[in-house]
């Protein structure tokens, strides 16, 4: 992530300024997502190539990706907490319970990897339909963030003793 499209000074406020010059070089749907998030006081980042939009929140990081057909916006979120590899089964079971009982967002447990220091992470993925109306797309973005936050609040209740992952939600390489 090399360029910052939204002004960090506005974080947490109802509306942030956006560097329109930076947005000019981005694909129009990506620029729209960034603008709508900024209107909601949510900072986001994108690389110069106009790749995925990264939204760092307190409990998780979210990546929004446009589908090739520009019909869907896929989103993937990663909880800022995790489990030791010995608790992989607990993580899988918690995700299974979420998918069974709530299911508005697909949750899964990652496999322990060297990249993650053998930690098991919990991710939530879903999709929203793209729409050319700002009000509608904004509502759908709001809803996706709300559901993601619900997932991790729920995880916090189910698994009150996870490990806090010291890096940013998507790690140092993000």
């Amino acid at each position: 992530m090399t360029d910052t499209a939204a002004d960090m000074e506005g974080q947490g406020t109802a509306g942030m300024s956006v560097d329109e010059q930076l947005l000019k070089g981005l694909p129009a749907p990506i620029a729209r997502i960034i603008r709508l998030l900024a209107q909601r006081g949510i900072p986001s980042y994108v690389n110069a190539g106009g790749g995925p939009v990264l939204v760092p929140l307190v409990d998780c990081g979210i990546i929004f990706v446009m589908s090739r057909s520009l019909d869907f916006i896929g989103f993937t979120s990663l909880w800022s907490r995790g489990f030791s590899s010995a608790r992989y089964r607990d993580a899988v079971n918690a995700c299974a319970e979420w998918n069974r009982s709530v299911g508005y967002l697909k949750a899964y447990a990652t496999e322990p990897s060297l990249e993650q220091n053998q930690a098991v992470r919990i991710a939530g993925v879903g999709q929203i339909m793209y729409d050319e109306r700002d009000e509608v797309l904004g509502q759908r973005l709001d809803d996706s963030i709300y559901i993601i936050q619900n997932l991790y609040a729920w995880m916090n209740e189910q698994c009150p003793d996870p490990i806090r992952i010291p890096n940013a939600p998507y790690g140092r390489g993000a």
Partner: protein
């Protein structure tokens, strides 16, 4: 250029779409339900403001209760590696059953073309998961 008309996604629209495809479905507790091969699909609109299209799938048949961990891993692998519905296990009197759920926020409505693609995508996902699960279970049986 004029944008196509956006219409609300509701039970009537789901029914009309399914019937236009030639599918036989029944109305059951606010859902439209039909059988496609080995999977029962259930289409409904849910949420406080009826904003979510929810497509649930249920495999016809079951697996032994003793295979729960293995089957949970198959669901988790699908959820991790593939787009589409969430897969999970449900206990039944006969054993464990694979289920899927696909939810999309349709607040603000959508045009017919979008709705058509969304419904086809939702249907294909459940079928895709069952194919994936069968493949995984076959590999495990051979190993």
């Amino acid at each position: 250029m004029e944008q196509p008309m956006k219409s609300v996604v509701d039970g009537k629209r789901i029914q009309q779409w399914l019937e236009a495809q030639g599918y036989r479905v029944e109305h059951h507790e606010q859902s439209w339900v039909g059988l496609w091969g080995n999977i029962m699909l259930d289409f409904s609109v849910r949420g406080e403001h009826d904003e979510y299209l929810v497509v649930r799938g249920a495999e016809q048949g079951s697996h032994p209760n003793g295979h729960r961990e293995l089957l949970e891993d198959v669901c988790n692998a699908w959820n991790r590696d593939y787009e589409g519905p969430a897969a999970y296990l449900q206990s039944s009197e006969e054993g464990l059953v694979f289920r899927t759920v696909f939810v999309v926020n349709c607040q603000g409505g959508m045009d017919d073309d979008q709705f058509d693609r969304l419904m086809k995508y939702a249907m294909a996902g459940s079928d895709g998961f069952l194919g994936f699960a069968q493949g995984q279970l076959s590999k495990l049986r051979m190993s």
